[in-house]
């Protein structure tokens, strides 16, 4: 296990945030700061570095009120690689089932010494509620269909690594836009960094109102495919829908699954992302998911690097003014 410092450079002047609740109000400068630092962490990770003990003494708590494997593991790893302690709290084993409010639960964990709280919750705005009521740093790890900023950042980082820039790229988000926090975080980050964004999917899941926010919408993947540089295939969120908003999975796959035939009609250098967990055969066929245009596993590696960068940035406030000083 190797452990050596990396050259991160100074804290970016633009970064003043103690929380990361969404990408909607981040400036291009702030987004670029996270991506640049994430690139450095990625290089260290790829070079085999396992520990960059910049946050030793810091305690991270993953406060997850919804199931997650990938995101929680990714945050835990990121925290540990930075030398922080990381603990997990999941709602099913908690006193929430005994009627404690979410604010009280979080305050209790804070009182045990958590410096950072990584929050996932079914309801939009819950990380914001906690940020308003706690002293520690809050990172939104997904609040219902609202935002999932680190997922948006890691998708954007993956695109930037492959293409060098976001400026002028056409990025299509395909699938369940209505219920997707990943879509929203991607939309804000991509737009701010100069990409053209298309949301595409069945009309029950894609609102025409997106055009009021300067986002193109389309109901036909086949129509937009020839001019798309990056395709981000969102998971159908069966668990968030009351009634299935399309007639059958078979019909959905027929209209929107990225398969070999569609790939043949796309640009040669199209980049295919999927935030996962993917429903193989629904959003994407296995041959495409595992093919050369796919960056799905790179996304996962980038996830750790992005979360290291975010943890390092938000806690910079703590390092600048340690408690008691």
């Amino acid at each position: 296990m190797s452990e050596h410092p990396i050259e991160l450079g100074p804290l970016p002047q633009c970064w003043k945030r103690r929380h990361l609740l969404g990408l909607e109000d981040l400036t291009a400068e702030e987004l670029t700061a996270v991506l640049d630092k994430a690139d450095l962490f990625k290089q260290a990770l790829v070079a085999g570095t396992r520990r960059v003990p910049l946050l030793s003494g810091i305690t991270n708590c993953n406060l997850f009120f919804e199931n997650s494997t990938r995101t929680r593991t990714s945050f835990s790893l990121a925290a540990r690689r930075l030398g922080a302690d990381s603990i997990d709290f999941s709602a099913s084993t908690s006193s929430l089932s005994k009627g404690e409010t979410v604010i009280d639960t979080a305050k209790n964990i804070e009182a045990m010494g958590a410096d950072v709280m990584v929050v996932r919750h079914r309801t939009p705005g819950t990380p914001h509620l906690l940020a308003q009521n706690l002293d520690c740093c809050v990172i939104n790890a997904g609040d219902g269909p609202h935002e999932h900023p680190t997922q948006g950042l890691l998708d954007i980082l993956t695109i930037r690594q492959r293409r060098g820039t976001l400026q002028g790229l056409t990025v299509a988000l395909v699938g369940d836009i209505a219920h997707s926090r990943t879509a929203r975080s991607n939309i804000w980050g991509l737009k701010t960094l100069g990409a053209h964004v298309i949301v595409c999917g069945p009309s029950t899941l894609v609102s025409p109102r997106w055009k009021e926010l300067d986002v193109e919408f389309s109901y036909s993947l086949d129509d937009i495919l020839p001019r798309v540089d990056v395709l981000n295939l969102l998971r159908i969120q069966f668990e968030r829908q009351h009634d299935r908003p399309f007639p059958s999975v078979r019909e959905y796959a027929h209209l929107y699954a990225m398969n070999r035939d569609r790939l043949a009609r796309a640009k040669d250098d199209i980049l295919i992302l999927a935030p996962g967990p993917i429903n193989r055969g629904v959003e994407v066929t296995p041959d495409v998911a595992d093919g050369p245009q796919s960056a799905i596993l790179e996304q996962v590696t980038n996830g750790v690097a992005v979360r290291m960068a975010v943890l390092w940035l938000v806690t910079s406030v703590l390092r600048a003014a340690p408690v008691g000083s």
């Binding site: 409010t101 919750h121 079914r122 309801t123 939009p124 705005g125 914001h128 609202h146 926090r181 926010l213």
Partner: protein
């Protein structure tokens, strides 16, 4: 007996189409005379530069008592009413137990009398136990003093029950007051379905959910000759439906809240649950439609839908936080600041919707300063500017989205039955 002479006030009483500066004499709890220069053994109130109006009437108040006294009680709710300039309120029956029996009506009337603040009228349930299955004992509830019928909180959902309610209430001359919402369209809804909701990813409550139910109720009122009172209208679509229904002679009245003519769904961007109510805050077009509806008389009454919730209930995730805000202590200031000052309504139009119109909907002889009427009077300072501070509220709850707002216009004297109940 006691006499009060209110001097040099601008008396505005829409019930008599009166708007002039005069002296008003109250004697033995009744309006005794106008233009009286002076009187013996008399308390004087100098109302120079002030407006003297019939005490305000709010026909949509949740007093939470019995059952949820941690949010509000009859004592605190009626004290809040006085602080807001209201001399009469009608309380909604979604209590625990619901107001569906003579005993519960009696309980409220007695507790209100003991509190001795403002007059309290009771809106009772349309259906037994508010279950939407069988009609409550409407005749006996009226004998006990109920003035209107509603299952508010939830709509009367079964169309056949609604038809029967219209028919049955017809013989008593009472309105059926409905909360208009198609529940299948609003499941998990937290806010108005619109652009802000698209961005925030919260569950949507489409305007159509209100429009469809108002359409149904208008059709049933038209078919039966019954009296529909549409509670808290919030959508341009339903206002349009009500306007057309009134034109062709359907007996329909409607009310709107200050928050629906003041705030939009954009407020939810802060994720503050004090902007969560049902019906939800909607887009600017709907707000404009509410104001137009008030201007052309489509909307008859301004009500608060005063819905107290203890702080710990509101300080939760947005989907768990209950719907509703308090309104009694901010309503008048919002009417002055948001309707009268910008010129949407003049004082007579605004006061009509806060006095005689609501009195007519609940069928009580209030809301007038005619000679011989009960001396329920409010003296309003139309110029005073004040800051909303929930710490000063008389209500037991503080769930208001208007904390810190600068408002103009406030009640400075509130007289109920000839007794000065509030003086500031």
């Amino acid at each position: 007996m006691s006499k009060i002479l209110i001097q040099n006030g601008r008396v505005i009483d829409p019930s008599q189409k009166m708007d002039r500066v005069t002296n008003l004499l109250i004697e033995d709890g009744r309006i005794a005379a106008y233009d009286v220069a002076s009187a013996d053994d008399c308390e004087f109130i100098d109302a120079s530069g002030k407006i003297v109006a019939p005490g305000l009437i709010d026909i949509h108040v949740h007093l939470r008592d019995p059952g949820r006294e941690e949010d509000e009680t009859i004592e605190t709710g009626t004290a809040a009413a006085l602080a807001g300039g209201f001399t009469s309120i009608a309380c909604c029956p979604n209590t625990e137990p619901p107001i569906d029996s003579q005993g519960t009506v009696e309980y409220i009337k007695q507790k209100a009398a003991r509190a001795g603040n403002c007059n309290v009228y009771v809106i009772a349930c349309v259906s037994k136990n508010r279950e939407g299955k069988e009609l409550a004992e409407i005749g006996q509830l009226i004998e006990a003093g109920a003035v209107g019928f509603s299952d508010d909180g939830t709509p009367v959902y079964n169309a056949e029950l609604m038809r029967r309610a219209f028919e049955y209430c017809l013989m008593f001359g009472r309105p059926v007051m409905n909360h208009s919402e198609i529940l299948e369209l609003t499941r998990d809804g937290v806010m108005h379905e619109g652009l802000a909701q698209l961005v925030l990813g919260l569950g949507g409550i489409p305007a159509a959910a209100e429009d469809v139910m108002v359409s149904r109720d208008v059709a049933l009122a038209e078919a039966t000759g019954g009296w529909l009172h549409v509670m808290h209208v919030s959508s341009g679509g339903s206002i349009h439906i009500i306007r057309r229904a009134k034109k062709r002679g359907v007996r329909v009245t409607a009310e709107v809240t200050p928050h629906h003519f003041t705030l939009t769904d954009e407020c939810l961007r802060t994720f503050d649950s004090n902007f969560k109510m049902n019906p939800p805050l909607r887009g600017q077009g709907h707000v404009d439609a509410c104001i137009e509806g008030l201007q052309d008389g489509t909307i008859d009454c301004i009500v608060t839908d005063h819905a107290p919730h203890a702080k710990e209930k509101k300080m939760q995730e947005l989907d768990r936080a209950p719907f509703g805000i308090i309104g009694l202590e901010t309503a008048l200031g919002l009417v002055v600041t948001r309707l009268i000052e910008p010129g949407h309504l003049d004082w007579s139009q605004a006061l009509e919707k806060l006095t005689i119109n609501p009195a007519r909907v609940i069928g009580v002889e209030k809301g007038t300063l005619a000679i011989g009427a009960d001396a329920d009077v409010v003296v309003i300072d139309p110029h005073v500017e004040w800051t909303v501070d929930p710490a000063e509220f008389k209500s037991k709850s503080t769930n208001t989205p208007f904390a810190g707002w600068e408002l103009k216009g406030r009640a400075v004297k509130v007289i109920v039955g000839g007794r000065v109940k509030l003086s500031r």
